[in-house]
């Protein structure tokens, strides 16, 4: 019930934020921080000990029993990690939203997106899952479209339509599951627990027509791959990240990219094996190509935002890879557990790292008026704290041992090697490129000779510094004590494998 | 001896096509209305030809004749109003509404 309370509070906050007008900025900041604290308290209470996989805090409110529509919630270890991530991201996004620049509607959009995210992570009924899944898009569309860069009109539409198409494919899959479940068991239900159970049941799946089975799997996987995004369906990514205002970029990179990963590991993970070897091979291929291709593309970007957008997509390639190789593994159990947990850990930490990177770029943008690498240069001289923090973010993003990014990538590499063999070359290649352009960007923008055209700039201090430091410390802690997230995630993965 | 069904049906279909062609091709509203009447009446002819034992088609035919009369009343009054406003009744050439 605590988590339901948090959800309702966030939803109410969105309403209050629009009513308050002038004070909405401070209200949103306080409310999102309170939400974060509440989520952390909740996690400490419920997940610090005694969690052994599965879903806890389950509540069912029947809305229409006869057709299986419940407002049904439940939290897994993985969802909890993402809940914490959501709390952090939105608190930070509210924090960096300047009240002088944005009207109260912006704050409402932020809170609404957070409500959608939390709702999506906790719902255990497909109808509500879908509703929240779509609902997240609308406020983000408005954030990009209303406050975005010069090409906002086209880009926001592209973002919406792209992800909307993917979502409706998922909706079709949900329908198909729903109607075939009804066909076999004569029960109408949208409950995830029952439908997912059925998909793991051999008698149910063998009775499904081939085409229906693959259609169901395709719909889900396609929707999640677009959201990640994975290689061939990434066209919306860079433009949206670049054109969104900074709070929007933080939300996109930090929270929304976790949606696809949550879909893969939180929803279809129990029956991912049904995809079959051929399908899983394709997924592995997509993951590897994503890692290498996005790394190469990122290398040629001039804008920091675009570069990091591709870097973010490249890290998501690891997630696709982890998902597929968890089922391909010939040795089963041990490796599968490592690689799956690594994938989930990667999703959660990736958001926090992206937050640090984009928030730092935001402050650089504020100070210097530019976020293009060639027009920066040597800003370490005037802004040592800011530069160091951005460097920290970049290092975490490229996977430096000791920081959070390393743990996920390392477990994925270790765990997927038996499954994919020497194809791992792609992965190493991608990581090399990633490392090189991260360092190159840091070198060019932060160090080296100072670009005198920028004039005198000041370092950050006070609240922004504290905020960035906190985020960096979180990354550091997760890098040193990954068990904080790894524990519940592994319990969840273990419960399924 | 009854007429084979094919004869009235062919005539009706022919009339129907003539009427349709008239509506499509003519520009003057009055001509279009007359062509419409031909279409409707060809349909009535067809209806009567299929009436064998039951009176149903005849009933419908009677209704259709009444409705056709109402339709021409409405059509003519519309045309009168059009003439007053536009000074012509060339329907396809009215071009206040553009795509």
């Amino acid at each position: 019930m605590i988590i339901l309370g948090i959800f309702i509070w966030v939803l109410l906050s969105a309403l209050i934020a629009i009513i308050l007008k002038d004070k909405s900025s401070i209200f949103t900041k306080v409310s999102s921080i309170l939400t974060l604290i509440a989520i952390i308290l909740y996690s400490v209470l419920r997940f610090s000990s005694g969690y052994a996989g599965g879903f806890i805090s389950q509540t069912n409110i029947a809305l229409s029993k006869s057709v299986g529509i419940y407002f049904s919630i439940g939290v897994s270890g993985f969802a909890d990690a993402l809940l914490i991530l959501t709390g952090i991201i939105f608190a930070a996004a509210a924090f960096v939203t300047d009240r002088k620049l944005y009207p109260s509607s912006m704050f409402m959009m932020i809170m609404l997106t957070e409500a959608g995210m939390i709702g999506l992570l906790i719902s255990r009924n497909f109808l509500f899952f879908y509703v929240f899944w779509e609902l997240v898009l609308v406020p983000v569309y408005f954030i990009i479209g209303k406050f975005g860069g010069p090409r906002k009109d086209g880009v926001s539409l592209k973002f919406f339509v792209y992800t909307h198409i993917a979502s409706i494919f998922m909706l079709l899959s949900i329908f198909a599951l729903y109607s075939y479940y009804d066909l076999q068991y004569k029960v109408l239900t949208f409950q995830m627990s029952e439908l997912l159970q059925a998909m793991q049941n051999a008698t149910f799946t063998s009775a499904l027509p081939e085409i229906a089975k693959y259609f169901i799997l395709f719909g889900f996987v396609f929707a999640f791959l677009v959201k990640l995004p994975s290689f061939p369906v990434h066209a919306w990514l860079a433009d949206s990240y670049e054109q969104a205002p900074y709070p929007g970029t933080i939300i996109l990179a930090g929270a929304l990219s976790a949606m696809g990963g949550y879909g893969l590991f939180g929803i279809i993970f129990p029956f991912g094996g049904l995809i079959g070897t051929a399908g899983l091979d394709i997924l592995v291929g997509l993951g590897l190509v994503s890692i290498a291709y996005f790394a190469l593309t990122a290398m040629f970007q001039q804008s920091m935002k675009r570069m990091m957008a591709y870097a973010s997509a490249a890290s998501m390639g690891f997630v696709t890879l982890a998902f597929a190789s968890a089922f391909l593994d010939p040795l089963k159990s041990e490796n599968a557990l490592i690689v799956a947990s690594g994938g989930m850990f990667q999703i959660a930490t990736h958001g926090i790292i992206m937050l640090l990177v984009f928030a730092s770029i935001y402050y650089i943008m504020l100070k210097t008026g530019s976020d293009r690498i060639p027009s920066l240069g040597g800003i370490y001289r005037d802004a040592p704290f800011l530069s160091t923090l951005l460097l920290g973010g970049l290092l975490a993003s490229l996977g430096l041992p000791g920081l959070a990014g390393f743990v996920g990538e390392f477990s994925i590499i270790v765990g997927s090697f038996p499954a994919i063999g020497y194809w791992i070359f792609f992965l190493v290649f991608g990581m090399l490129i990633t490392a090189s352009y991260h360092i190159w960007a840091a070198q060019k923008a932060l160090y080296g000779p100072y670009n005198e055209k920028l004039g005198k700039i000041s370092d950050i201090g006070g609240a922004p510094l504290a905020m960035l430091l906190l985020v960096f410390v979180t990354i550091l802690i997760l890098g040193v004590f990954p068990v904080l997230f790894f524990g519940p995630i592994q319990a969840y993965a273990g419960g399924i494998i | 001896m009854s007429m084979p069904l094919i004869i009235p049906q062919t005539v009706a279909l022919l009339l129907f096509c003539i009427g349709l062609y008239g509506v499509m091709s003519s520009k003057v509203g009055i001509k279009m209305l007359i062509s419409l009447e031909i279409m409707i009446n060809s349909a009535v002819l067809n209806l009567i030809s299929v009436a064998r034992s039951l009176p149903d088609p005849i009933v419908l035919a009677l209704f259709v004749i009444a409705i056709a009369a109402i339709e021409s009343v409405v059509g003519f009054s519309l045309l009168v109003a059009v003439y007053r406003k536009f000074g012509k009744v060339d329907i396809p050439l009215l071009s206040e509404i553009k795509g």
Partner: protein, 477 residues
Amino acid sequence: MTFDTNQLAFYYPMLVLGAAGFIILALGIKRLRSIVYATIAMAAFVVAFILLLMEWYNILPYVASEGMVFNGFGFYFALLFLVASGFITYPALKNIAARSEIFYAMLLFVSVGMIVAAFSYNLITLFISFEAVSIGTYIIAGFHKTKRTLESATKYFFTGTVATAFIIFGLSYFYLSTGTFSLLGHIAVSSTPDMLIALAFLTIGFGFKMAIFPMHQWAIDTYDGTENSVSSFLSTGSKLVAFVIMLKVFIAGFAGLDTYVYVFFAILAVATMTYANISALSQNNLKRLLAYSSVAQAGYLILVLAVVGYAPGTQAADYAIAAGMLYSLVYIFMKGGAFLTMNIIRKDSPSVDDISGLGRKSPGLALAFSIILLSLAGIPLTGGFLAKFFLFLSLVQGGLWWLAVVAILNSAISVFYYFRIMMFMYWRDSKEDSSFDLSVSNRIPVYFSALVVVALFFTFSLFFTILPFAGGVFGGL
């Protein structure tokens, strides 16, 4: 044929409406203010509505003398038609100054026709009710005698009458092949080719009224040219009448030719949706854009026929029909509301530009219109989403995967142009020469439809309440 007195009760709503129509015409001599006529009409709608509800709950469904069946299906649609008529009663006041009694009398007579269409299961009465609606709407469309309305009414009249001829021709072939005009009971088909001719002619005839591609061109011009409230009525009430009649004729009447019905309507639905959505993309005139969207929605509606043709007698078929019923309800408010929103723009033929800056001038109104647009696009938290949701569910249930995918892609295309309107509304500054008429009477219908559209989302169970009535399309109880 006997006429027992119990049966008379079922005709009270129609009698009330008809009587009110004549009363309004009679009062016309006194030249009262328009609002008096509107109020009388509204009162008649309310009374008829209550009477229908009472009959539905108190009296068991009843088969009257051959041709009229008073079942849940009929009652549902009859109520819907009354809502569609009542919805424009007051908004129409704004634009009809002279001789408004004729307008309201016509609206009432049209409503009588619509209710008869809802209950009738005989092609003769169906045809007559259809014509009553058609002729009434010709007059309503041309009522406001400006050049634009006259032109659109004339185009509407000519295409509509051609459609009538097609219907009669089709009916004669239907009779030739089946020997009956009744849709009740088993219909024995003696000659399939004749039946196919009937199918083609009837589809063309009714398709004109429903504005299905390729019979849609009149609709674009007419919706564009007529007054906003009339466009709203033409695209909701009169279109839904055609939809109900099509449901009855092609599901019950062509029960033996399911495969043909499926092929026919699957192709038509795909063509209609795709053509209309793609045309709407490049449309700059706001009312024409809404008109194209209305054509696209007709494409979604006839998906119902494709599903029923493909999987007749299954649960999927019931779902499809019930989804069509729910869609019709939502459709009245989203499409009607969208056209009524045009009232706030003080221009005859507004372009998309003309709505720029509404978000700043009146945030509430912009929000309400956005909700309506989101509903048309089928985004969650709106009734439009729920209606599409169940429609697609029935497609998947029936096994029509390819059609579901096409429908979904179309629904995604449609997002482009609905969101384009929202983009102008919120993110562009208003043009200097554009002005909005933000009077209360213009706002209320928009707010009201937005509210209803949202409320319809939160009544999931409504679909399952109307599901049992879906079988009523065959004239059963």
